[in-house]
């Protein structure tokens, strides 16, 4: 029996009296294409924050490929292969997209560890031609080729949204968490994102938070529905779309709830 890529046991997070994550048992298999849905305020972002280490849980545990990572800081989880995007852009405003992605690639390689990694940390970033080309390719794949060396702060929102994803991909994760990556951007850009995500290595486990059910059904093979911090149900796309309770609390509210 193999370990799941990511697992939570009785995970709980409270903000004062509010239970944002309510005793969640979650299991993500390697190579999963999983969607996490639920109305606004259901606790989706909080759950991702707990998984990535941006928040500490009140109780319960988190396991990455069998290792208990509950006490690990976010940076250590990232180095262990867990990467995420943010619902609200979290970018390096003063850097260029190319610098951001080169940095992330260098960081992912450093994870290999040892003194070689340490040496690389202090070698000119411009001296590793292959890495720069790789960074450029990641950005060009997201149609960002025209703004490689513009300061991120000066770019349009849609482009910044794509940079969110570029950085998360550059970390070469084994588990990728995408928090509403397609929120607030054009239809064209949404299709672009879906295409890029769809072409990711099949061994990578991916969780997508998304409100657009059309996008969810095209991407996901399995779905978890979160309501008031708790898992309402988990199942295949067919099971979830047929589930009466889900229709009532979520699908019934219309596609862009």
């Amino acid at each position: 029996m193999t370990n799941p890529a990511l697992e939570t046991r009785a995970l709980r997070k409270t903000f004062g009296g509010l239970v944002a994550t309510d005793t969640v048992d979650f299991r993500l298999e390697a190579g999963a294409r999983h969607a996490l849905i639920g109305p606004n305020g259901a606790g989706k972002t909080t759950f991702v924050n707990l998984l990535s280490g941006a928040l500490q849980p009140t109780s319960g545990s988190i396991h990455l490929e069998g290792r208990d990572i509950t006490a690990w800081p976010a940076s250590k989880r990232a180095r262990a292969g867990l990467s995420r995007t943010f619902q609200i852009n979290q970018l390096f405003a003063g850097l260029t997209p190319l610098q951001s992605v080169v940095l992330t690639l260098a960081q992912a390689e450093e994870t290999g560890g040892g003194s070689a990694g340490l040496m690389d940390l202090f070698r000119s970033a411009g001296s590793n031609g292959a890495r720069i080309e790789e960074a450029a390719a990641i950005l060009e794949n997201l149609h960002l080729g025209a703004c490689l060396d513009k300061e991120i702060a000066t770019l349009a929102y849609g482009q910044q949204r794509l940079i969110e994803i570029a950085i998360a991909l550059a970390a070469k994760p084994r588990v990728l968490l995408l928090d509403e990556p397609a929120a607030g951007i054009s239809q064209e850009e949404r299709e672009l994102i879906l295409g890029v995500i769809g072409a990711l290595p099949s061994a990578m486990a991916i969780v997508l938070i998304e409100h657009d059910m059309d996008l969810v059904f095209r991407f996901a093979r399995s779905i978890t529905v979160l309501v008031n911090g708790a898992v309402l149900t988990t199942g295949s796309v067919a099971e979830i779309s047929a589930d009466e309770r889900v229709r009532k609390v979520y699908l019934g509210e219309g596609e862009h709830a």
Binding site: S52, G53, A54, P73, A74, S75, K76, A78, R79, S83, R84, F86, Q90, L91, F92, A93, G94, L95, T96, L98, Q99, S100, V102, L103, T104, A106, Q107, A108, E110, T111, D120, L121, F122, R123, S124, A125, G126, S127, G129, I132, E133, A135, A136, G145, L148, D149, I167, A170, A171
Partner: protein, 331 residues
């Protein structure tokens, strides 16, 4: 030049203005034989400002206590020069410089843990507090430091056993400039590497920096320690070349001046501190000649104008001008 090619040249090669700057700086040793003491002072200020730029401009740590490391370096080098003037090795200024850097680095490392977390305001207060404590310790240890009278009898040996310090400041200016240049090369290497990009990432967005795997605390400790070492070297240079160390080298005013130089020159690009130090020292020199009393008034006024109208300082202005002239090539 765009994309990968542009990135490569910006992160690796020496740019023309860097070469011009350093050629001009070293040419001053020959061209301005009567102003070598001023040149020495500028090089020392510049090293202090450069070290502050590493933590403020790159890592985003504001400090009002950088003089702590400057002063520790000054006293360390001063004490070594005083007590080992007969010792060929320990009495040599370069060894003194190294030990001063190490001492300042140790204090920097120890105090770095206090600036890891917290808002800018907490950091300002914590760095200020550390500097005040260090100054008070130096004051209390007057049997070692000379207390309020300063450290007397600092008699540095010739640099590398060969270059005697002279009255005109020739050796002093050359020595300080060479040390500044070496520090610049080291700082340049650090900031152009993934390590430096990581610092900027931490400065811009700590949350995301952590999310891409950067061990933020470890990086901040490392750069704070390095900056302390460089500031300690600047202090050591001052003590060695002026044959004196005093409590005002640990003073708040010195920390504030270093910050001022960075604001004048522009933070986050290594040259800001250097240009700021030049402008500061020359303004000090010129304005003092005109109005001995009120030079700080004019300095204050120009500071306000700079902050209101040119946030990036002199380097920011230069970049703006350069973009006008060559829109494609601007750094």
């Amino acid at each position: 030049m765009r994309g990968p090619a542009r990135f490569r040249s910006m992160q690796t090669g020496w740019r023309w203005y860097e070469i011009v700057f350093w050629a001009a700086a070293f040419a001053m040793l020959v061209l301005a034989p009567s102003r070598l003491l001023l040149l020495n002072e500028i090089a020392i200020f510049a090293l202090l400002a450069l070290s502050l730029d590493l933590i403020l401009g790159f890592a985003g740590i504001v400090s009002l206590g950088h003089a702590a490391f400057f002063g520790v370096g000054a006293y360390t080098a001063g004490l070594l020069a005083k007590h080992f003037s007969e010792h060929a090795l320990l009495g040599d200024p370069t060894i003194g410089l190294g030990i001063a850097a190490l001492t300042a680095a140790i204090i920097g490392f120890a105090s770095s843990f206090l600036v890891l977390r917290g808002s800018d305001l907490t950091r300002l207060m914590v760095t200020l507090g550390v500097a005040l404590i260090v100054q008070e310790i130096a004051n209390r240890l007057d049997w070692i430091t000379g207390g309020a009278d300063g450290l007397q009898g600092v008699l540095p040996r010739p640099v590398l056993g060969a270059f005697e310090f002279d009255l005109y400041g020739r050796t002093a200016a050359t020595y300080s400039l060479v040390v500044l240049f070496i520090a610049f090369v080291v700082a340049r290497q650090v900031v152009h590497a993934p390590f430096g990009l990581g610092l900027k990432a931490i400065r811009d967005n700590r949350l995301r920096a952590e999310a891409i795997g950067i061990p933020v605390n470890r990086r901040l400790i490392a750069i704070y320690t390095l900056a302390a070492a460089l500031a300690g070297m600047a202090g050591a240079l001052l003590a060695q070349t002026t044959q004196f160390a005093s409590l005002d080298m640990l003073d708040f005013q010195r920390s504030a001046e270093a910050l001022l130089m960075l604001v004048i020159g522009g933070a986050g690009n290594l040259f800001g501190g250097l240009l700021g130090a030049i402008v500061f020292a020359i303004a000090h020199d010129v304005l003092k000649g005109i109005t001995a009393q009120y030079w700080q008034f004019w300095l204050g006024l120009s500071l306000i104008i700079l902050v209101l109208f040119a946030r990036g300082g002199l380097t920011g202005l230069l970049r703006l001008l350069y973009r006008r002239v060559r829109p494609e090539a601007a750094p």
